[in-house]
């Protein structure tokens, strides 16, 4: 490859990165502009209609108080003033009715929260009422007063998250005699178009610079400088948009690549890619899909752990989620919400399950591998049934068997002359129910793995040992066990990870009863996200901690296994 060709190849890599950064910066900047412009317009329209001066082109209305529906109290009915008459606000009743309804409800949520926080503002807001405004709009007939005073929250404006570029603004009408909201929805707006021609021109200029550098001084400093300059040219638009982070990032990329080129790193990487292109080609589809759908969400999840999500609002809180979790949130150690309690339950859960899986699985495999056993095939078929049954069905079946005074398990106990047990009302029995279910579910895997390992042991070894007079125990200890270990080691590592992360059984069988005491970490993380006010940040922090625990466990666990194998 010629020097110019090599220079252009490196430039192409740098240019792709630079254009990517510039594009991200551009999208961010123009979205900010659009949001600022549209929300400002919406705010003006909303305050305008509140004061009787509607803006042209912006759809703005007055909305009445929410009234609980007589048939379904959790539904709220509202009315909207359009023209001179109040009509019900229902989805499909008019343009943007659904948007307006949702915006009004969001305002009420904010107001309901503001009520506790800013009682002083209530007074000032009601004192500011202007009686002159009452005549301009017809008052809502038989208006229902919500349990909080109107105009308690300051109102808000935001870009709709549907990508249409519309904004909605809500402003309380402080002058109205009853609760009224002014809501405006702007028409869609297009953000500034991407400056395609400018970017193409800059790319050409950069390429020309890089090529010229290579022609002047094929291996010299000038070539590197021209190369860096060529990429740096692409930072110009970022400077024009005042996206300083973007500009800096591009300059760093330019400098970094020039250094890499100087150290011949780019040549070596290209050569490596070319040499291993078959292998990388085979690997690429899986790698790309894993990156997009596993690595990316994982990283996002890690980041979310540093944020707090509360009633639709995100705020950066640093390590405070982790602090709250690791300190137990100020709860006693035996409180089922304390992290350390849950961790204890989870470790116990994992240890108990893996122990039973391995013990039962290996014992059965040893028996099933005896050639004198009649009906080996039949027994093997029957014993792997639990693996074939979908595990959520298993969990629900066992839940049914444990539930109720006359559930199947209790009936069996009665038949055996014992008293029935209320399985989910004490921790020990509820935990035992979970473990029993998961043991039933999981031992066939270990059995199959152990069977496979046993089948691979050459018969001659046992014969030789018998000839040498080894006892049954010695044969097991010195032949069977060493052959089982390499297969069982990874199976146990994998099994413990699966059990640690097992969700279905605990969620469906005991459901955390009694009082959340049988929740494991994953179940509790799920509850933080979906059952305790959408505390996504807490859930993500839990996830991160779970991952770290498992990582430590695998690193040290495999080390222990390896050390045992060594002698």
């Amino acid at each position: 490859m010629t020097t110019v060709g090599r220079q252009l190849r490196d430039f192409a890599v740098g240019a792709v990165l630079a254009v990517l950064i510039a594009t991200i910066a551009f999208v961010a900047v123009r979205n900010q502009e659009l949001a600022a412009r549209q929300t400002e317009l919406a705010t003006r329209a909303a305050t305008g209609i509140a004061e009787g001066r509607p803006l042209p082109d912006v759809h703005a209305v007055l909305v009445g108080a929410p009234k609980p529906s007589p048939t379904r109290p959790y539904l709220r009915q509202r009315r909207v003033l359009e023209g001179d008459a109040w009509r019900p606000l229902v989805a499909g009743g008019g343009p943007d009715d659904k948007l307006i309804y949702d915006a009004a409800n969001r305002y009420d949520q904010l107001a309901a929260r503001g009520e506790r926080r800013a009682t002083s503002r209530v007074v000032s807001a009601s004192a500011a009422r202007d009686p002159r405004r009452a005549q301009a709009a017809p008052p809502e007939p038989d208006a229902w007063s919500p349990p909080w005073p109107a105009a308690i929250a300051p109102g808000f404006a935001e870009l709709l998250p549907d990508g249409s570029g519309r904004a909605v603004a809500v402003a309380p009408v402080t002058s109205a005699p009853t609760y009224q909201l002014a809501i405006a929805v702007t028409p869609p707006a297009r953000p500034a178009p991407y400056p395609l021609l400018v970017m193409i021109g800059l790319l050409g200029l950069g390429a020309a610079l890089a090529a010229a550098g290579a022609l002047i001084a094929p291996r010299g400093l000038a070539a590197r400088a021209a190369f860096a300059l060529g990429i740096a040219v692409l930072a110009i638009p970022c400077v024009l948009w005042q996206a300083w982070t973007g500009a800096t990032a591009i300059l760093v990329v330019a400098a970094g690549l020039a250094l890499a080129q100087h150290a011949r790193l780019t040549d070596r990487i290209t050569a490596g890619l070319r040499r291993h292109r078959t292998a990388l080609g085979f690997l690429a589809p899986a790698a790309v899909s894993m990156l997009v759908l596993v690595a990316a969400p994982f990283l996002i999840g890690l980041v979310i752990g540093f944020y707090d999500h509360h009633h639709g609002q995100w705020s950066f809180v640093g390590l405070s989620n982790f602090g709250e979790i690791l300190s137990g949130g100020g709860r006693a150690l035996d409180d089922p919400l304390n992290f350390w309690f849950i961790l204890g339950v989870t470790v116990l859960w994992t240890a108990a399950n893996v122990f039973f899986h391995v013990a039962i699985g290996v014992a059965l495999a040893l028996v099933l591998s005896q050639s004198w056993l009649r009906g080996r095939g039949v027994f093997r078929m029957l014993l792997i049934v639990p693996w074939a049954v979908p595990n959520y069905i298993t969990a629900l079946i066992w839940k049914g068997m444990f539930t109720g005074e006359y559930g199947a398990i209790n009936s069996l106990l009665h038949a055996a002359g014992l008293d029935g047990v209320s399985w989910f009302s004490s921790w020990a029995t509820a935990f035992a129910a979970n473990v029993a279910t998961n043991t039933w579910l999981g031992f066939p895997f270990m059995m199959v793995v152990a069977l496979g390992a046993l089948e691979s042991i050459p018969k001659e070894l046992y014969e030789a040992a018998s000839v040498d007079g080894a006892s049954a125990w010695q044969r097991f200890r010195h032949i069977t066990l060493p052959h089982l270990r390499p297969a069982l080691g990874p199976a146990i590592a994998l099994g413990s990870i699966w059990t640690f992360n097992m969700f279905n059984v605990i969620f469906l069988v005991s459901g955390g009863k009694p009082g959340g005491a049988t929740n494991t970490l994953v179940v509790d993380a799920y509850r933080w996200a979906f059952e305790r006010g959408e505390r996504y940040g807490m859930a993500a922090a839990y996830g991160t901690i779970i991952f770290l625990i498992l990582l430590l466990w695998t690193v040290f666990g495999t080390r222990i296994v390896r050390r045992k194998e060594a002698p």
């Binding site: 078959t278 292998a279 990316a296 040893l366 049914g400 793995v449 990874p490």
Partner: protein
């Protein structure tokens, strides 16, 4: 193991023990079959696994009840599940076969790291991924779509499949490939004409696991599919026995119908199970 026959008493004891154990293992399954055939919505009022009265009413209800928009509830959701599971199997197996082949037969920088990564992603708790995945699928416009679910399930299934298949590929002899290479076959040709046919048992096991991943999953399905008509079977079946209303008869009928295809596939492929799973582990 040993070919020597133990004493008769010991042999009888082992046989009896195994029969008892097999009965205990089968008991929950038989209870469900009993419940599916017995009238009534209660779970079980007796411990006997033999139905006291036989009726087809639960199955009839399962196959004839209709959803809000008039579709046959069970068949509709079964179709969703079949589609999702089959596509997941195809995508998951295709991606893992190629990746496992690369990791088994080629030496390239980053190979060990790659293998390690496939192990590490097993440790990502699903609940950590649930929310970001929701956002990503939303951005890609794949929420509420079968394609989105298929992509998520395939990537969940890939790590385990890659490990299993890599182990299987490792155990295949290399001589054939070398001969083919000398005859001028391209890597792709070797993969397609030699490796894939030889690895059929391993692939069968991987396919089964991919299928079961998709067929059995319900948390992601219930989170990503907000449109009820897009629900998969697990979500539908779980909804028959909630805290508030439990119809165990309907559940049992659904459970039986849902489990049967998986169990058939499982038993067809079970002779490969031992080899497919352990080939890699034993060879290290």
């Amino acid at each position: 193991m040993t070919a020597r026959r133990p004493r008769l008493v010991w042999s009888i004891l082992v046989h009896v023990g195994l029969v008892v154990l097999a009965a205990a293992v089968l008991y929950p399954v038989m209870l469900v079959c009993k419940k599916a055939l017995e009238p009534g919505r209660q779970f079980a009022l007796s411990a006997s696994p033999i139905p006291s009265d036989v009726t087809a009413e639960h199955f009839v209800e399962l196959f004839t009840s209709r959803g809000a928009s008039g579709e046959l509830l069970f068949l509709h959701h079964a179709l969703n599940s079949v589609l999702v599971s089959l596509l997941t199997t195809v995508v998951g197996v295709a991606l893992s076969c190629t990746a496992a082949y690369a990791l088994s037969r080629f030496r390239f920088p980053g190979r060990q790291t790659g293998l390690g990564m496939f192990m590490v992603v097993q440790m990502f708790p699903a609940t950590l991924l649930l929310l970001p995945l929701y956002v990503i699928l939303d951005r890609l416009g794949l929420l509420n779509s079968i394609a989105g679910l298929v992509l998520v399930y395939s990537t969940t299934a890939i790590p385990f499949c890659v490990w299993t298949l890599k182990g299987y590929f490792d155990s295949l002899p290399r001589e054939l490939e070398e001969a083919a290479r000398i005859d001028g076959a391209s890597p792709w040709m070797i993969f397609r004409k030699i490796i894939l046919p030889l690895a059929r048992p391993g692939i069968a096991v991987t396919a089964l696991f991919s299928f079961m991943t998709a067929w059995n999953e319900f948390i992601m399905a219930s989170t990503f599919m907000t449109d009820q008509t897009k629900y998969t079977l697990p979500v539908l079946i779980q909804s028959t026995v909630t805290e508030f209303s439990a119809d165990w008869g309907l559940f049992a009928a659904g459970a039986v119908v849902t489990s049967v295809p998986v169990m058939i596939a499982f038993y067809v492929l079970q002779r490969y199970l031992v080899g497919g799973l352990t080939a890699g582990a034993v060879k290290g």
